[in-house]
Symmetry: C4
């Protein structure tokens, strides 16, 4: 197999390398996978309006997110169980992210502890949080993340119940026994989470995460951490406003990669209303879902996003070539974004605005 | 064959188990089946706008329809000849419906008499009415339904003539001789209805049902029964208003599953105008047609329906596993609806409104 | 082969029975055949809004066109060279049309003379006119048509040049030598028209019909005939108004079945603007192009057409079973239209109006 | 292989005749080739509104571009390396263009020097310019073009960086060693441009053309030439206005055949806004991208273009039959345009306006 030249080829190669149930776990969306497909299709419904005769000898993707400078707005979205793709799990991912100069959001459901990942990582880290039913468990986790140098907490809000992913059900996916819920080594009950078997999809009533979180819970979160809080899973103007009011430093427009609720808006469909709602706010906007090309990223930036997060593609890179694959996936996207900016006459992120895009189709 | 995990898999299994002409009778729509397909496609043209950080530890689908409490708004639409799918016919269906805690609308064209079904049923029952040319026949039927404990009459209005279903014509479908029109045992002429043969599709002039019904006929119906009247087959605001004026307790937005007129509006397309027309009325709104997922049901509820009726899926369940299959089909839908509500931040039906949906596509 | 039950099946059977080049001549459109396909697709973009509880024991498709009563608005569009499909050519077609109680528009390019057709026909006849370069030839033809009892002249205006039909070019279609331009037996030069060979598509400069017709030519036509004039090939409001002003008794909204210019509006797309333009005029509106179902016809009636013309389907009927096939094709359409009317609560043509249709798709 | 009857058939034959990597170089677009496909699809989204009963015995496509009369507005867009398709390269192309009475835009990246092409050409020539980093190189080139009789300079602005064409990357396309950058024989460094190998796609930092051009560069260009300047690559109203202000005699609405940035507007989508922006300007508007039929050209003319440029089709003609193929491709398009004009009642270019087109789909 020759070296993949784009993210689609990374996907193809990863799917031949991974075990069947892991493929299903990675690739699948919930129910009929309408949203999974629609996330990608939305990008074809937006057209770039490039401008020319702009000096693009130097094109910089540099940005500042939550006050910290970054070379590129292409970041890594949180995903669970990297141990499925590589023996070193999230530690290996972290090495690749560092190599590419990007930022890594580590999932609560990592197969390496947050401290192990931090030790391996020479890149900025954010910690993604699912809130445990027993809040003291989460409070300990947050304290550990702060201690380990994580720079922000990303609270995922679109998983009060687990989505019904039927590919996983069909192939009987479960987390293999050699992989542990590394962040919960002190919580024996958590170790059986999502093991294969009849209870492969957890009973919502008995799920280990709290389906009772409300906007008031953000106040609790702010009381137990001084880290900036990013709220992941915003799909409406209404929730965007509530997030800003609750003091979120940023929101992620996300539908969890089509894995939670089938039939929702795609993230690109949701972005304009979120951007309008937060236009006068200091709250930053990130987006994930179906972004596979630099031009996709550019469209999202034009519609109001400040950063782009990659979910599955990072796992494909990890499966194909470990940290080198992760770095390559990120670098490909950074270069595609940079090239698309150059070719649209936008030498830096500040020069990108909504006039760069329009809906597809004849307008006359 | 492993246990189906969703309604599509029930369909596939049913189609392998049933005889060819029965498959054609169940699955087919009229003429080019544009409406049959479009019913399903419409749901992809509506997107959910989920809200988060709402307490969804408890999610209730409980509702009150025609004044009676029900655990879920997922109901069973009337369909003819359950004897084609199971030896016990509608009695077996009734057992499954009871097991799932749902409500069963029994067709005039049942292969078990309404009394037999009522005896087998531990669930609420409605009786679907096609009006016989000789009104006294229908009056007897209504009196029997009242006596047997049926709680409402559902008058189907979209079948003044029978639709032209070409799959049936091609495979020569006819009701087999061992199945009787059980509700018409006292009407010998009715026994030959839809038997196989050259007259497989009845001549409209000689059809046993009355093509001359008008809105005035509702007055007759109200004069012969005290049961609430549900009018099934509404596709326009105009007819919705007439139904409410005629004293209907509810309407069903239905195109008969694409079996009567090809090229009509889909039921989801018709729902908003019906909901607007009846906004200030006490008349309830139900819908059927192409609903195969909890998220479909949720979209219909958001656009103004108070209940969702399943047609074909119930027959698939009956064919695959008798009452257990019926119960499973209904339970799958109830759970999918509940899960979709949880994931959209709507812990009960009252919290569902039009802000939960928008058309698909970029809006900017 | 079993008896076709709809027009699609007639098409399939005809295509297996006819010779290859004839299939290409019948089925083909010009260039990329975008319009050929789009004509049919347009009908899927319009939805019926049926009304119910209307007395439809009697449903009449009776109409009056150009002052003459007809049982049905389903008519036969003009098409050339019926001798390709049946040895008796247009005479055989005429017998089928009469059997179905319809009306036959005979083409200038018939393979039987207009007098032979009139002798065979017990149905009303219209004569379709292409104007010969030498006007005296056309004047003789018109006089003969009047003498033979034709009731109207239909001037086809969308063929100033012949469209480029590439299927015909590829298969080398030409009118076989045993078939004559029967209406031009007195015009030797006309006999070689569209014979096979290198000049299969006539050079526009040397074509036998007049590319120089203008709206003033209608005055000439009116001066040489007292028959009502129907103008065929209207696709814009502008030309509709000019036709009415020129004294046309009717227009046919037609794009020649996609055979003349690829990329034009479909006839259903053009119909609303033509109907609006002629709303206050006595000029009647007919339509052809891609009409294959009664529901298509009904949509066209709702959007303003008074009659529906079938082109290719009549040829399929002729090829499959001679006059019986023609009659069956027409009868199928008449019955489908009647059934669709019944099922939409429109017991007669007068009850059909624009409220019966809406565009497809969610409107909210 | 029989003689192609349309441009699609030229494409098919060319693809069987050319070497694999050349096919990829010719046919490919950048990245996912969304724009490559969309360029063609846009033409299906516009419908012609033909008018009839207009005298079309004579139909003239004659036009005046930049003050010079031409028989047809169908021109040849610049493309690189004709030596890949024919041993005589651009000289052979020029002979075909002359034969068809068209105009040839010679690329900076020709495999024959601009003087050699001018010597072979009996047609009007324009010279397409990519600006070399060392401006004196370009100044020499411009002076040579003037001296050789080129009538205009076309500055291509949509290639500040080279687009990422993945088909080329996969097949390892590079300019073969027997072909030279003929216009740069005096610039040894230029000779290695786009040779096959690891650096097949040039590093933007080390590219031989200047990524630092701005609108001010047009002033430089005007200072070194008296030829009219055409700016190629305009996709927005904003850039169109800037071009006119900078003194451009014409703009080409072009996305470089989908080879530079994937996801841009198609050229037909961009045309209306450019036409509106330049409505009061003397600046002419040309268009290229996906034009394969006379009806495509006609739609573009109706939406505001004054000339149509063909890119790939000319290369197909060259590959299939040398100058005769080039001439035939152009002649086919000229005739198709003429026929479409005749069939739409537009006997000359002046009679074409926006009323000739509308978007596809039902409008009611
Ligand atoms: C295999 C997998 C596991 C995931 N695990 C998590 C997780 O633990 N926490 C979380 O917030 N999101 C998780 N996500 C969602 C991603 O953060 C992200 O929203 C989504 O993958 C983006 O879409 P994309 O995969 O199309 O880029 C997961 C996604 C995948 C594919
Ligand atoms: C096999 C079959 C038989 C039916 N019989 C009846 C009937 O007797 N009375 C009636 O009102 N509707 C009847 N219907 C229509 C259903 O009540 C319902 O409107 C339709 O099936 C809903 O669409 P769905 O099948 O896509 O869920 C029948 C439908 C099917 C598929
Ligand atoms: C084989 C063939 C021959 C035709 N010949 C004529 C003709 O001689 N005169 C004419 O006005 N229209 C002619 N037409 C056009 C038809 O009158 C009619 O406009 C068209 O076929 C309608 O579309 P449909 O075939 O989709 O029903 C012809 C069409 C076909 C298919
Ligand atoms: C193989 C190839 C080489 C090209 N080389 C050039 C070039 O050297 N300069 C330029 O301005 N455009 C170049 N173009 C772009 C064409 O001028 C034109 O914009 C494009 O091909 C139009 O689209 P079409 O191929 O769909 O007709 C090239 C296009 C192709 C296909």
């Amino acid at each position: 197999m020759s070296k993949p030249i784009n993210l689609h080829e990374y996907e193809q190669q990863a799917m031949t390398l991974l075990e069947g149930p892991t493929c299903d776990y990675y690739a699948g969306g919930c129910e009929d996978e309408v949203t999974l497909r629609a996330n990608l299709q939305s990008f074809e419904q937006v057209r770039l309006r490039p401008r020319f005769l702009v000096d693009v000898r130097e094109v910089s993707t540099a940005t500042i997110l939550l006050g910290k400078p970054l070379d590129s707005p292409i970041l890594v979205a949180p995903s669970a169980y990297h141990g499925l793709a590589h023996a070193e799990g999230e530690c290996e991912t972290a090495r690749g992210v560092a190599q590419a100069g990007s930022l890594f959001t580590v999932s609560t459901l990592a197969t390496r502890s947050l401290e192990e990942v931090a030790a391996a990582a020479e890149c900025p880290l954010w910690f993604q949080l699912y809130v445990y039913r027993d809040r003291s468990v989460s409070e300990r986790l947050i304290a550990r993340a702060e201690a380990a140098g994580y720079q922000a907490l990303m609270l995922t809000i679109d998983r009060p119940w687990l989505g019904r992913r039927e590919r996983e059900l069909r192939s009987g996916f479960g987390v293999p026994s050699h992989l542990s819920m590394a962040n919960f080594r002190d919580v024996p009950a958590a170790q059986n989470y999502r093991r294969a078997g009849p209870n492969a999809l957890p009973d919502p009533k008995a799920d280990m995460f709290d389906a009772g979180l409300t906007w008031e819970s953000i106040a609790w979160l702010r009381s137990v951490t001084s880290l900036p809080i990013i709220i992941k899973g915003i799909l409406t103007a209404e929730d965007a406003v509530l997030a800003a009011q609750a003091g979120a430093a940023a929101v992620v427009v996300s539908n969890h990669g089509g894995r939670q609720i089938d039939g929702t808006v795609t993230t690109l469909e949701a972005l304009p209303e979120v951007a309008t709602a937060l236009a006068d706010s200091a709250c930053e906007i990130y987006i994930d879902g179906g972004i596979r090309r630099g031009s996709d990223a550019l469209k999202a930036l034009a519609l109001g996003a400040q950063a782009i997060m990659l979910g599955r593609p990072v796992l494909w890179g990890l499966a194909v070539a470990g940290s080198a694959g992760v770095a390559d996936v990120l670098t490909i996207m950074q270069r595609e974004l940079q090239r698309s900016m150059a070719l649209c006459g936008r030498p830096n992120l500040a020069s990108i605005d909504r006039s760069l895009v329009r809906p597809s189709g004849m307008l006359f």
